[in-house]
Amino acid sequence: MNHSHEPLIHIAKRDGIVWWKSWLIRLTGVVLALIVSALFIYGISKLDPLKVYGAMWDGAFGTSKRAWVTIRDTMMLLCIGIGLAPAFMMRFWNIGAEGQILVGGCATAAVMIYCGNAMPTWIMLVIMFAASCVSGAIWGLIPAIFKAHWNTNETLFTLMMNYIAIQLTNFLVSKWESPPGSNAVGVINLNTQSGWFPSILGQQYLLNVLIVLALAVVMFIYLRSSKQGYEIAVVGESENTARYAGISVKKVIIRTMAISGAICGVAGFVNVAGAAHTISTEVAGGRGFTAIIVAWLAKFNTFVMILIAALIIFLQKGAIQIASQFNLNDYASNVVTGIILFFILGSEFFINYEIRFRGGKS
């Protein structure tokens, strides 16, 4: 055979990869991303690159309050990721988490405003949970029904639903604004803390953590070991296979999106009642988009999501800390998020494919 026609590099799909090798490749991606992030931060702050991560660590975990905020935000991102996992496993591109979070948050805020101080907090928490579930589910169901029956493109449908939810939130903010003219709702029930998550064991955000971790465990079992989880996986692999196997594809799509939307709605509930105590479009604030990437990279495994979410939030908090030290703006945090996501995305290639060079052993 004439070797001069053989290409210099040859790419082949791997049949499988040893688990430690795949993790080594991912780790390399993360390390490279950390180096590039450090260079970016060095570029804006001229801080000694080695000290960059010290300062970032200080920003994320420097005080016990900062550490809890980091944990709280990790849980928020995780919660949305958990909600998106079943939809993505079904290959349903739910880009609409942002909107589902917002309607869940709006429902929660409505309960806090209209029922606040009228009933005990635990009853309110139950009502808020239910209201956010239902509203998130409705927001997820609308595109799902069209997808199931008429194969309407869900990526763009859910995307548009985000903007409708954003306008709906702005509408409610101008309705509930206090003080009038501020164009903000302000802290709801500031004096009575009615409807706020209670502190557990003296920790303000422990309930957030418990709710989200419970969801993570339930979702892990649901996707791995339940009949419905199996149906989702089959529909995701091939709708035709699912049909031959007697699975009602329409039913699975609609049911799964109701679950996905409901959990994203709960994320809005956790953020409004457990952290922000107000309602604005910042309740979602782009997290719905970041969580899509978290869910995708974790391959729908809710425990791997914890790691990725924690890494992203750590970098964001660190970047915000450095930016504020150097009198720069918070957008630095999303630049760093972008860098890390690009590297993790790129590293997937080296896990799925093998590169052989000309003349090397095959």
Partner: protein, 327 residues
């Protein structure tokens, strides 16, 4: 008079969306669904900002020279095309060479591009002493120059020359995609890369070029927003990001036809500003009215999926990576 005023706002707003959508149509015709349009438009805006500021403020300002309008235009264009083109190259490398998922890569590009643009845009503003203190007057005026003879004609007196370029580009793209060999090859790549590959078309090259050129066109939308709509005074209020998503929606609305995107973008612009011209709305009901462009997009999306006509379908392999050995 109200109608003419609405028409004028609609054309200005629509042109931003039109550029974004034209870039995305070209990209999608090669089979790449790039959800990074808002990021690319932001990168185009900040690229134009950084490079034209370097010329108008840093070079001319510190040397006491009068900025040359033509050089202002060239530097701004260079910056916008360079930044958005690099964004497109990054997306192409990840999705075409490394076969990463297109939706996820596009969303990352949006997060990254918008953040990078707002980061540098805000940082530059701050350097000059905050909002309102830095405006590239010469650059902005050069771009907002009106075609001679139309200075007093209604509506037209408010349209910079990038508006006419966008219309010409849309008509050119319509011709290019339907009447030229290269355009037809590109569509073949988007419909069925395996068939195109077998016919001797270099799939990778077509995808790379279409995606990067598409990114540059989208970036021009960001530049137009920056130099014309906000008159070269940087703002980080998320408007450009929302317009970027509307551009993605417009691709569907125009059913992948650049010529149709022209009037469709003005319709989007009109729907976005309608609340302003309808009397008797208070602030809360205005927010409801601002849902209109999104509701109309959903209606079109549903309509297209119900009708299933052959002419209005997306490229058949849209969103899928091509790997020759998996045929």
């Amino acid at each position: 008079m109200k109608f003419l005023s609405l028409l004028q706002s609609a054309i200005v707003y629509g042109t931003i969306i039109l550029y974004g959508a034209m870039g995305e149509i070209l990209t999608q015709k090669s089979g790449n669904l790039n959800l990074g349009v808002p990021g690319l438009m932001s990168l185009g805006a900040v690229g134009g900002f950084i490079v034209s500021r370097a010329y108008e403020i840093l070079y001319c300002g510190s040397n006491g020279l009068t900025p040359n309008a033509l050089l202002c235009i060239l530097t701004a264009l260079l910056g916008a095309l360079l930044f958005s083109g690099l964004g497109g190259l990054l997306y192409s490398f990840l999705t075409i060479s490394l076969r990463a998922n297109q939706n996820v890569t596009g969303l990352t590009l949006t997060i990254f591009g918008c953040a990078l643009a707002n980061f540098y845009g805000s940082a530059l503003l701050q350097k000059h002493g905050g909002v309102g203190s830095l405006s590239l007057a010469v650059t902005s005026n050069a771009f907002r120059a009106v075609i001679p003879g139309l200075e007093t004609v209604t509506v037209f007196y408010a349209l910079g020359w990038l508006v006419y370029i966008s219309i010409a580009l849309a008509i050119f793209m319509q011709w290019f995609l339907n009447r030229t060999r290269v355009g037809l090859n590109l569509r073949a790549v988007g419909e069925s890369p395996a068939t195109a590959d077998a016919a001797g078309i270099n799939v990778t090259k077509y995808k790379y070029v279409a995606t990067c050129v598409g990114a540059c066109i989208s970036g021009l939308g960001g530049l137009y927003y920056f130099v014309d709509y906000v008159k070269a005074a940087w703002t980080s209020d998320g408007t450009l990001e929302a317009l970027g998503w509307l551009a993605v929606a417009l691709v569907i609305f125009a059913t992948w036809k650049p010529a149709r995107a022209i009037w469709a973008s003005y319709l989007f612009g009109a729907l976005s500003w309608l609340y302003f011209y309808i009397g008797g709305l208070n602030r809360s009901s205005q927010e409801i009215f601002k849902m209109l462009p999104y509701l109309v997009t959903i209606a079109v999306l549903v309509f297209v999926s119900l009708r299933r006509s052959k002419e209005s379908q997306p490229p058949a392999s849209l969103g899928l990576s091509y790997f020759r050995e998996e045929r």
